[in-house]
């Protein structure tokens, strides 16, 4: 180890990974439905894409990416729910890894709900 910068580079690399173990109430929780219906329609790549991106971008202390069982809307799987403290839950449906990363960029980082992927947009489209 020759400098603090060198140490901090290792720290930055590891922070995202170790940060997965952080626990605090202010975290944004991103939950991916991973029941049989979710997995069958491709929830796993969505979950891993989100989790990897959050860790790579060193966001794991702020955003926790977890999984849950069947949400009850099997026809809309893969479903990703975003829960921000003090805000209403946003449900994204028929997710793909690409769409999920768009949600990460626009909603989780940019603060802008991606309306076109939400449950209400999907339901309105059916009417």
């Amino acid at each position: 180890m020759k400098s603090l910068e060198e140490l901090r580079a290792i720290r930055a690399k590891m922070q995202g990974k170790v940060g997965v173990r952080a626990e605090n109430e202010n975290q944004i929780r991103v939950v991916v439905g991973m029941a049989t219906c979710g997995i069958a329609s491709g929830a796993r790549p969505v979950l891993t894409a989100l989790s990897d991106a959050v860790q790579e971008q060193n966001l794991s202390e702020k955003i926790s990416v977890t999984q849950t069982g069947c949400i009850g809307l099997c026809q809309y799987e893969p479903i990703v729910e975003v829960m921000e403290p003090g805000k209403e839950k946003v449900t994204y449906v028929k997710m793909t890894p690409e769409k999920a990363l768009e949600v990460l960029r626009l909603h989780l980082l940019g603060g802008q709900v991606v309306a076109k992927y939400t449950l209400s947009a999907a339901q309105n489209g059916l009417k």
Binding site: I10, V20, V65
Partner: protein, 595 residues
């Protein structure tokens, strides 16, 4: 990159209840479910709740599973790790009281705790230096070497108010200052990891859970006092701690955090391990250094103090494991941060190993000034089986008992000394109403008699004479003159012993005499043991009004001491009775009693 981390406790407690096998099974199941790329298993140090081991936490959810068995693993993997459904039956009871699962740090055991020294225990993989760096590790060393002068470091420690966590509570900054002032061609930094108090395992858990924190602090100490060599004296009975220290030292060398020219600052420092053979006296600083030198571990008179003439007659500082574990964070967060915790003269936090008659056996870290009541009733979950709290023992064989009347005294160095005990290294043994205080004093004296090194007469012979008197008391053969003699011996040992082992050996006797003198008197004058522990003073009897003549007791008695026929009142023959209590346990009518 893993989306989920499964942390399994690899401390000594959970390892002995099978956590290694659980890790192996877990890895197998994860692979069988095709999750090897997504879920990582991490073996950590102690989580603290040893009573509920083996313990497992799944992140990012923070799900806390306790008493996990190998058979539970397939369910955890296929339900939780694959499908995200928490296995509720394996959760820690307290977190499932309501529909919503309570987060761990809001449970009684964790919510009053404040983890500084144990910050990384149960959070990181102690065998991976990058995880330590990832939580801010070695930042303090980097800052110190590139931005601070040695005297700045000492000033930070002085300002923080950190006192030695080994028990005596000497200000750490002052110790470093003395060693820094003494000129010499070589100086040494030593770490006392010879934890020997019965029931104490704080240092072991830190070494097992966060070894790099100790290495980092020792390097900082080396820079502050001008030493280039460190030694960790650790007991060989701590094989997991020794192994993790060895791994940590070699990783730190590999990353250039130990060795030549660290952080390109011109400062070089290295650390070696020395294994102790488990002699209690080697926890005493001069004996410890004598042992590192390769001689028989015996203390020598002070002064000269180690800061002037220590290891190999060179200026040396010796600090305890927990003391070191606090230092990197004091540097990073500043002395004001540390001094904001605790009481006026005792800053920061203290780790205690809770043991004895308490529900949550384990490791806790609390801010100084927390009361005994909070530790025992809230964090510890109270005394089991509805028994009454009688006293807590702190400081091991050098400490004393704190009775229920001092339940609300804020715990810090000075308060504990004022009530006749001492902080000690942090063992805290809870005793309930079934404990005989004379018997407890005798237990600790037996320990010091065994562990006295024999170099000085007051300790070698004095402890033995004291034990003989205690033995007479518990057998009902003592007189009140014996009690006077016992107190006189206590005084002589305190005044005349060479090292702290002998000087503090009378403390368990003195403190029990101070608070439970009536129990001593009952043993001597009434030939009675109020708690019913001392076998020679206890008689088992059968209440003729309650006995139904079922013969169960007579059949249970291993000594054939109970006479009586079916449907007739039974009697115990005191000549034959060995006082094992088996009959009393078996009787369904509560007809057998002790007196």
């Amino acid at each position: 990159m893993y989306r989920s981390h499964v942390l399994v406790c690899g401390g000594t407690g959970c390892t002995s209840s099978g956590s290694q096998r659980i890790i192996e099974k877990l890895e197998k199941e994860i692979a069988a479910n095709g999750l090897s790329e997504e879920v990582g298993v991490v073996k950590t140090g102690c989580f603290g709740l040893c009573a509920l081991g083996p313990i497992m936490i799944v992140y990012p959810e923070g799900t806390f599973y306790s008493m996990v068995r190998e058979d539970d693993i397939p369910e955890i993997v296929s339900e939780h790790l694959l499908k995200g459904r928490v296995v509720r039956r394996l959760l820690y009871d307290e977190t499932t009281k309501t529909e919503k699962i309570i987060p761990l740090n809001e449970t009684d055991f964790y919510k009053k705790q404040h983890r500084v020294a144990l910050r990384n225990c149960g959070v990181i993989d102690p065998e991976n230096i990058e995880e330590y760096i990832g939580t801010g590790g070695y930042e303090a060393l980097g800052i110190v070497l590139t931005e601070k002068k040695p005297q700045d470091v000492i000033q930070i420690l002085l300002d923080s108010g950190l006192r030695g966590r080994g028990g005596a509570g000497f200000p750490t900054g002052l110790k470093w200052k003395f060693a820094a002032q003494n000129e010499a061609d070589q100086k040494y930094v030593c770490c006392n990891a010879d934890e020997g108090d019965p029931g104490a395992f704080m240092d072991r858990s830190i070494l097992e859970g966060d070894p790099h924190a100790v290495l980092e602090a020792m390097a900082i100490a080396g820079y502050a006092i001008g030493a280039s060599q460190g030694y960790i004296y650790v007991r060989a009975e701590y094989p997991i701690a020794v192994k993790r220290l060895e791994i940590a030292i070699s990783q730190a060398r590999e990353y250039g955090l130990l060795g030549e020219n660290i952080f390109d600052s011109g400062f070089s420092f290295d650390i070696e391990l020395r294994l102790g053979a488990g002699a209690f006296v080697c926890g005493e600083e001069t004996a410890l250094m004598t042992s590192i030198e390769g001689n028989r571990g015996e203390p020598r008179p002070r002064p000269p103090y180690p800061a002037l003439k220590g290891l190999f007659r060179k200026p040396t500082i010796l600090n305890n494991v927990e003391t070191y574990a606090n230092i990197p964070q004091i540097i990073v967060n500043g002395p004001e941060w540390f001094a904001s915790m605790g009481t006026e003269k005792s800053k920061g936090t203290k780790v205690f190993a809770l043991g004895g008659k308490i529900n949550n056996t384990g490791l806790v870290e609390i801010p100084m000034g927390t009361t005994l009541r909070e530790i025992v009733e809230e964090i510890g979950g109270g005394v089991p089986n509805g028994k009454k709290f009688k006293a807590a023992q702190t400081g091991g064989p050098s400490g004393g008992c704190i009775p229920a009347e001092h339940f609300d005294v804020p715990i810090d160095y000075d308060n504990l000394i004022a009530i006749g005990s001492m902080m000690g290294s942090g063992g805290l043994i809870v005793m309930d109403e079934d404990t005989c205080m004379v018997d407890i004093a005798k237990f600790f004296l037996e320990f010091t008699v065994d562990e006295s090194c024999g170099k000085c007469t007051p300790c070698r012979i004095g402890t033995r004479r004291m034990l003989e008197i205690l033995d007479k008391i518990t057998k009902g053969q003592a007189t009140l003159e014996d009690l006077d003699k016992l107190e006189e011996l206590c005084f002589h040992l305190k005044e005349n012993s060479l090292c702290a082992l002998g000087q503090t050996a009378p403390n368990p006797v003195l403190s029990t005499l101070r608070y439970f003198r009536d129990e001593y008197i009952a043993h001597i004058v009434d030939r009675r043991c109020p708690a019913g522990v001392c076998k020679d003073l206890v008689q088992y009897r059968i209440d003729p009004d309650k006995c139904r003549g079922c013969t169960l007791c007579a059949r249970t008695c291993p000594a054939d001491a109970i006479i009586g026929k079916v449907r007739e009142i039974h009697m115990i023959n005191p000549e034959k009775c060995v006082k094992c209590g088996a009959c009393m346990e078996k009787c369904r009518f509560g007809a057998i009693y002790k007196e």
